[in-house]
Amino acid sequence: MAAFEPVLTRNFAVENSQSLKVYEGRGGYQAAKKALTTMSPDELVQLVKDSELRGRGGAGFPTGLKWSFLPKDRAETFMCVNGDESEPATFNNRYLLERDPHQMIEGIIISCFATRASTAYLYNRFEYIAATRVMERAIAEARAAGYLGKNIFGSGFDLEIYVHRGAGAYICGEETGLIESLEGKRGWPRIKPPFPAVEGAFRKPTVVNNIETLCCVPHIVERGADWFKSIGTPKSYGPKLYTISGHVNKQVCVELPLGVTTRQLIEEHAGGVWKGRKAKAAVPGGISMGLLSADELDVPLDFEEIRKTGCLGLGTAAVTVIDDQTPIMDVLYNTCRFFAHESCGQCTPCREGTTWFYKTMKRIKAGGGRLEDLDVMEQLAKNLGITPGTTICGLADGAAWPIKNAMTKFRPELEEYIRSHQQADKKPTALQEAIFRGVSPSLFDSSLPEPSEPLPGPTAPGHNPRVSPGT
């Protein structure tokens, strides 16, 4: 671990690190020069492929492979840099933008050269006002210095970067949602195919990459693919920015090789759990990835290992620590509120399902919970997230995953919470209960006996007794 030398964050502590002078003084734009003057775009794509750089935005898709999906005979390509970092507790992209904007620009230059894109859009999150200003200043500096514009480094390659600030929607971090938003439309993700590489922004081939992914590219060019692969764990190479927040003493953003464990992050970098408490759970990389229980804190945080715990993936590597005094129900409540608020409203399962979660959580929190609510929520979460393809984008999976994880890992605690938080007047009304139990409306509130053959009780929609009797 001692041998690890931070590269992405190397300028963070330097005074005035946003200025071109400081960046150049520390060897900046040499990688871009090397790439543009000595390498061909195809060689660059091959280099990134060889480095096995995987997208840092959440899904971990190999970047070089993504670039090679672009049609060979394309006339115009767009690069979209995804800075719509809205996953709760994630702030590594903000650091990269605010503290080292020229590293970002250099990454964009090389990546655009590799993908032959002469226009790049940096889509910034609405709330990143400071980062947007820093980037705009840096872009102006770079253009004045000849790093942007026409014929960069005499290579005949032209590039313009435009900074676009979003309008405050989580969904615009999804690549096709981002493209729609960039086009000036409502941020509703598109169906795929056609994939953005074939038909993206303004119906042109488009590459959408995360900020951190592109920031890795200059260092790969500078030091080679072998250096990159010497860091991290198998199939998850390279340095990664981890952010640690929640119930820890020090909330930080640190650069570490992929594959550190949550416990290492808490103990070595975040100064331990606050108030001397213990960690009960942790979010591995943004809440949409699920929850780790206390005994899974030693699982390496990389693209592969983390999946074995039942989490969706590494996500943005934004670790949120939850101490042992916090009810998991509160975490879920916040999570459900977030996803109900951020669901774009396009696909039926997500639009209705996320709100259903939220309303149920609200009732449970208020004291009207029933134990069967947990069953219903688990079934809903399975329906929403377990079969891929239920919705257009991954938001529904993200909304379902923390619930699925909590149900398997913290079920006794959730049940105990419901038992100990009971308020008679917050329960569903008798009529609602009757509908739930399938009592015929004509029998409700009457002295007539219930039907001798009771209607089926709550079942998963998947086991619709009318459609598939007996199952």
Partner: protein, 583 residues
């Protein structure tokens, strides 16, 4: 030729068709339920109702590989080797799940909803849904509002399929509707003070799979299932859109678009949609009249017809001059019978084309294959829709008849000039149409241009008031027959209403006057085959055998039936008693 496998059975699709899984399955009698997909609009796949399991068969090894996730049928092309599974437990449970979700915030006010009976939610709940509901929370109730003076939007019933939004973006390209807010609170809305008032706006009501968008004109007037559906042709302009006239208790309640890719695609204009009102008008001629003592007096039908017939015959025998005005609102058959009747009375008789109302200019909505659309639009066939300035259905057809009988088309103005200088001994004027045509002094002057005047019309006009005989005829809804639209396509419209009291359909009136063997009633098809044998412009009809072609008959030139052009309606609009379109 493409072979696709649906639920284990191999089917062959003809060459040159681009179908998605929904269409392909429907062709072979397998239903894939859907809400948001529409063949004329972009695929957005947001209702998720049509999800199926898809795979492909390796042509060499015959091995079938399934995609691990479910895929919406609307975005799955039916290609050679495509494997589709629509009846697995996974697919069924998914459909049940979507139904459960869709009904969470839906008010279930079917008893007072106009869509009931032709509602996608109702039909699919019955087929794919479940009787119990696990949702015990407060519902989200989005507000009810008006999107225009004519259209009401019940947001609480909306399922966010966005068909209406896409229609305004892609077909009319006027962009009135959009989605506002997010998640469960997302709603369809207009911009402030920009109502949904384009000339085709009413189509969003037809498009809406549930009762969210409703026409205020029809609101709470009739239950859908009480209405008889009559296939007809709109007579409001010379485009000749195919429509369904909904009739109950002797009244038309609304008109809806009927699919015809050669004419109107899936749409009709709002003007045409509201043109049914003229058939219900209280001012329509209530009886036939004879002029007695300087005043029109109500006369029994037989006496009115008898008077007209004997007087015209007498004038013809005495060698008097006879003229007739053939209205462009008459069907081809009526025009033919009238022309041959008048020419039979006197070879010298003059036939003129009735007044052709023209309002404004043609207005064309030309959707683009890609502009304004999203995703893969190669399945979409964009077809322009024209609202024509010529506000009559059959000028083209009447002119063809006139040219046959006298070699030229005499416009009404020429006839009026001639009548003013040398009055005719007998003048036979036909009317019809949605508004009274022969109103005002300029028309009453025609009275002086004829010694004997017969007016056959549906409206009590100024000119009719001066006529010797007023023959009360049929509105567009009361008669069956063919019209030739502006592009020369012969289309058949069936009668939606019985004749009013005291009136006869024009065809019967003319058959009685002409003393055809057997008299009336008379079948329009018989007259059509007779005229096809005589009038060369209608020669194309001679080859007609069996039922009248669904999409009409082009009179000039021939057309090959395009593959895949089978009748389309959303399953919830399927004929009564059928929940599915699949056979």
């Amino acid at each position: 030729m493409a072979t696709i496998i649906i639920n284990g059975t191999e089917y062959t699709l003809p060459e040159g068709e681009r179908l998605n899984a929904i269409q392909a399955a429907q062709r072979f009698g397998v239903e894939i339920p859907y809400y948001c997909w529409h063949p004329a609009l972009s695929v957005v796949a947001n209702c998720r109702m049509c999800e199926i399991q898809v795979g492909s068969k390796d042509p060499k090894t015959g091995e079938i590989k399934m995609i691990p996730k479910m895929v919406p049928g609307c975005q799955t092309p039916a290609k050679d080797g495509t494997v589709i599974v629509t009846d697995s437990p996974e697919v069924r449970s998914h459909q049940a799940m979507i139904m459960e979700y869709l009904l969470i915030n839906h008010p279930l006010d079917c008893p007072v909803c106009d869509q009931a009976g032709q509602c996608g939610l109702q039909d699919y709940s019955y087929r794919h849904g479940q009787a119990i509901h696990r949702f015990v929370e407060e519902r989200t109730v989005n507000p009810r509002k008006d999107v225009s003076d004519q259209i009401q939007l019940n947001m609480d019933r909306c399922i966010m399929c966005t068909r209406c939004v896409r229609f305004c973006r892609e077909i009319t390209r006027t962009n009135e509707l959009q989605v506002e807010r997010r998640g469960n609170h997302a709603e369809i809305t207009i911009f402030p003070d920009r109502p949904l008032d384009n000339p085709m706006a009413g189509n969003v009501v037809d498009l809406c799979p549930v009762g969210a968008l409703l026409d205020k004109d029809f609101l709470h007037k009739q239950r859908y299932w009480f209405n008889d559906q009559h296939s007809s042709v709109c007579t409001r302009c010379s485009t000749g859109c195919n429509i369904v006239a909904e009739e109950n208790r002797g009244q038309i309640w609304r008109l809806r678009a009927r699919y015809n890719p050669k004419v109107n695609d899936y749409w009709i204009c709002d003007e045409g949609r509201s043109s049914y009102k003229s058939a219900n008008d209280a001012n329509l001629l209530p009886a036939m009249y004879l002029r007695e003592g300087g005043q029109p007096r109500e006369a029994p039908v037989d006496r009115a017809l008898d008077t007209a017939r004997t007087r015209l015959k007498e004038i013809a025998r005495q060698g008097g001059t006879i003229a007739a005005v053939i209205s462009p609102f008459l069907t081809v058959e009526e025009a033919y019978l009238l022309a041959s009747y008048i020419k039979g009375l006197s070879g010298e008789a003059v036939l003129a084309l009735g007044p052709v109302p023209v309002v404004g200019e043609d207005q064309t909505f030309a959707p683009d294959q890609r502009q304004g659309r999203t995703g893969d639009t190669s399945f979409v066939v964009p077809r322009p829709f024209t609202i024509r300035a010529e506000k009559c259905p059959n000028r083209n057809g009447v002119e063809r008849i006139l040219k046959h009988f006298q070699g030229e088309v005499i416009p009404i103005d020429r006839l009026r000039e001639r009548a003013a200088s040398t009055p005719f001994d007998a003048l036979y004027i036909t009317g019809g149409g949605h508004e009274p045509a022969y109103e005002g002094q300029e028309w009453t002057k025609l009275r002086d241009g004829a010694k004997f005047l017969v007016v056959q019309d549906v409206w009590p006009t100024d000119l009719a008031g001066t006529a010797d005989v007023i023959l009360s005829s049929a509105t567009f809804a009361e008669k069956a027959g063919c019209y030739v639209n502006a592009t020369g396509r012969l289309q058949y419209a069936s009668a939606a209403l019985p004749p009013r009291d005291g009136s006869l359909p024009d065809l019967d009136i003319l058959a009685i006057l002409a003393e055809r063997p057997g008299g009336g009633p008379i079948s329009s098809r018989d007259v059509l085959s007779e005229l096809a044998g005589q009038v060369p412009a209608f020669a194309a009809v001679r080859s007609l055998d069996g039922p009248f072609p669904e999409f009409g008959l082009p009179l000039d030139g021939s057309e090959e039936p395009t593959p895949g052009m089978f009748r389309y309606v959303d399953p919830w609009h399927a004929p009564r008693g059928r929940v599915s379109l699949a056979t």
